[in-house]
């Protein structure tokens, strides 16, 4: 967008990029806020149905779909209380810390090819790094409240998040390793084509990994059955016991934002991102759909965003379903699950995927060799090209040594496997 403003309207680059950044930020903010509204409503409806109730039915017509808005107005009107013993500065700032951490990681999250706030080359790394910062808000809130319940919740959250970052990181490394890039846009585009190209169907190990990833993601965003930090049956409301009004709702926006984020991350890493199960774009516009421009590109991206949002909402719905179905674990069970089960399983999956790649066993995409027009599969091409680019940076492309070329071929053979 900033390129458009510079080239078409002749804006100075800084103002153009500032304007583009502003638009991206406003869009992401609205996505989180409206998403939180929708997901809270969805959660109440799903919870109601699971518990054989109706859920909200009155506000806003038949399905009560304005219930969250009414709750939001109520929350704004509530008095903003702070305990007398509390550490004022940290107490006030903690919800914003949590929300900012959740919000910032959306910057690097692509919704379709090129539709991303900031196209970072190490987007996976960035998103995971920022996602881990949300725990600061929880710990600060727990500490600054000067309440036993809050502090217990915060300490549990700290132990849990520090532990679950390990298997989560291992699970994330696996698709990154198959793709050979940490760029989320490229990872998404490498899974274009039929649904068998999605990394969840790459081999049996990635199939299992995606489930481990989902469980660890549940724990890292502090959702049931891992919601030890707010365990309302034991700790009143955990870390946000002392909060009320709008500050309290910021914690919830952060929570639902994070849920959306980890679902989106899972959708890109394992479920093909914005690529549908059937290569619609290539049916409509031929095999060169990825290199199109203009309105066709826009249309494909629009389809892609719909695909993407659908997958993400599916993931969030699954989280809601799990929350209202499974009982909460004890803290020792949570830690045991992490260190004795998830971490070893993730490590075994890691080794398994490496071996699969090294032995050149067929991946899911090879089992269903349906090309749209007889061209070789897109992903293989892109991957080899990408690996060549990676190994031979442009500035040294003309003077690279024979050794680096040999290693490049090696990498391509190992990474491609076909």
């Amino acid at each position: 967008m900033s390129e458009f403003l510079i080239n078409s309207w002749g804006w100075p680059p800084f103002y153009a990029s500032a304007c583009a950044a502003f638009v991206a930020v406003v869009l992401i903010l609205h996505l989180i806020a409206v998403g939180a509204m929708f997901f809270i409503w969805l959660e109440r409806k799903v919870a109601g149905r699971i518990q054989d109730r109706l859920g909200p039915t009155r506000v806003g017509g038949k399905f009560g779909w304005l219930q969250t808005l009414a709750d939001g107005i109520k929350l704004i009107a509530k008095e903003d209380l702070m305990p007398a013993e509390a550490d004022g500065l940290l107490f006030r700032i903690a919800p914003y810390v949590a929300f900012c951490a959740s919000f910032s990681s959306f910057i690097a999250l692509p919704f379709a090819t090129g539709w991303v706030g900031l196209d970072i080359n190490v987007a996976v790394f960035f998103v995971v790094a920022i996602l881990g910062l949300e725990v600061f808000g929880v710990i600060l809130a727990g500490y600054a409240s000067a309440s036993k319940w809050s502090l217990f919740g915060a300490m549990r959250e700290a132990a849990q998040v520090v532990s679950y970052e390990v298997p989560l990181g291992l699970c994330i490394v696996i698709p990154v390793m198959i793709a050979g890039t940490m760029d989320l846009t490229k990872i998404g585009n490498l899974q274009a084509g039929w649904f068998t190209n999605w990394y969840i169907f790459h081999d049996p190990f990635t199939f299992l990994t995606s489930f481990v990833f989902f469980s660890c993601a549940l724990a890292s965003v502090n959702r049931a059955p891992f919601d030890l930090a707010e365990a309302e049956s034991e700790l009143v409301a955990g870390f946000h016991t002392e909060y009320s009004g709008l500050r309290w709702s910021f914690f919830f926006m952060a929570e639902y934002g994070s849920m959306f984020l980890v679902s989106a991350l899972g959708a890109i890493l394992f479920l093909g991102g914005w690529n549908g199960p059937v290569p619609m774009g290539q049916f409509l516009f031929g095999a060169h759909a990825m290199e199109l421009s203009g309105w066709a590109f826009f249309l494909i991206n629009l389809l892609g965003v719909m695909n993407f949002i659908f997958k993400v909402v599916l993931g969030v719905t699954l989280m809601i379903w799990i929350r209202w179905t499974l009982p909460r674990l004890r803290i020792d069970q949570v830690i045991t699950t992490c260190w004795k089960y998830f971490t070893p399983i993730a490590a075994i999956m890691f080794v398994g995927v490496i071996s699969w790649q090294l032995l050149g066993l067929p991946s899911g995409g090879d089992l269903l060799p349906l090309h749209v027009d007889g061209r070789p599969r897109l992903s293989g091409d892109v991957r080899e090209q990408h690996l060549k680019d990676a190994v031979l940076p442009q500035d040294s492309a003309d003077q690279h040594s024979a050794a680096s070329r040999a290693l490049g071929d090696n990498l391509v053979r190992v990474g491609g496997g076909h």
């Binding site: 800084f14 990029s17 940290l90 700032i93 790394f125 700290a158």
Partner: protein, 204 residues
């Protein structure tokens, strides 16, 4: 109107924020607030890295330093949990020692900073590729990928010599693993003697 270099402004803003919160760490007396200021100072440093076009180093800063401060924060909370909001007073000797060390570092760093000059800004946010091949018309400097080069330089691949850091890295990894195993051994749950059937599994 003279074109304002917004990138430099942002860089200076982040630098000022970093300095402010670094000073706040020094002058605060509450250990948890100190940890919080430290987090902000380190996060704004990551912002400086991103502005300078070092996206990988910036993300690394977030993971290692900002994430690592989590442990400081947790320990701060745990140490002060019994009597809340303990304040930490610094003795006079500590001030002298800290000023000495900090001043020495400053003396070393300042000449280097002046040698390099101002932050890397071309005219009004137009950045040139380090390779010099093409001009990127965007004021977002992180479009030049750095992670691949860092990784390959680390392995010692793209240059003509194989002077990578793979062996030292492996040695350090094994060393760290040994240390971790030792720490886990020392901090393990002691052998249960009286309580039966209670799960005394070690925490993280």
């Amino acid at each position: 109107m003279e074109s304002i270099n917004g990138h430099t402004l942002l860089f200076l803003l982040f630098g000022a924020l970093t300095c402010f919160f670094a000073l706040a760490v020094v002058f605060s007396a509450n250990i948890v607030r100190m940890a919080f200021y430290l987090i902000i100072a380190l996060a704004t440093t990551a912002g400086l890295h991103f502005l300078a076009g070092a996206d990988f180093v910036g993300a690394m800063q977030l993971v290692l330093y900002v994430g690592g401060t989590l442990v400081v924060l947790v320990f701060g909370v745990m140490l002060t949990a019994r009597s809340p909001f303990v304040s930490l007073r610094t003795a006079g000797g500590d001030w002298v020692l800290a000023a000495l060390i900090g001043g020495t570092l400053l003396v070393i760093l300042l000449p280097v900073a002046f040698q390099i000059g101002l932050p890397p800004t071309a005219t009004d946010g137009i950045f040139t590729d380090p390779a010099g091949s093409e001009r990127i018309t965007s004021s977002v400097p992180v479009t030049v990928p750095t992670a691949t080069r860092i990784g390959l330089g680390f392995l010692g691949v793209p240059g003509d010599d194989f002077s990578g850091y793979l062996l030292p890295f492996e040695i350090i990894s094994i060393h760290l693993l040994v240390v971790l195993v030792g720490a886990a051994y020392l901090a393990r749950a002691k052998r249960r003697t009286t309580v039966k059937n209670s799960d005394v599994s070690g925490s993280s």
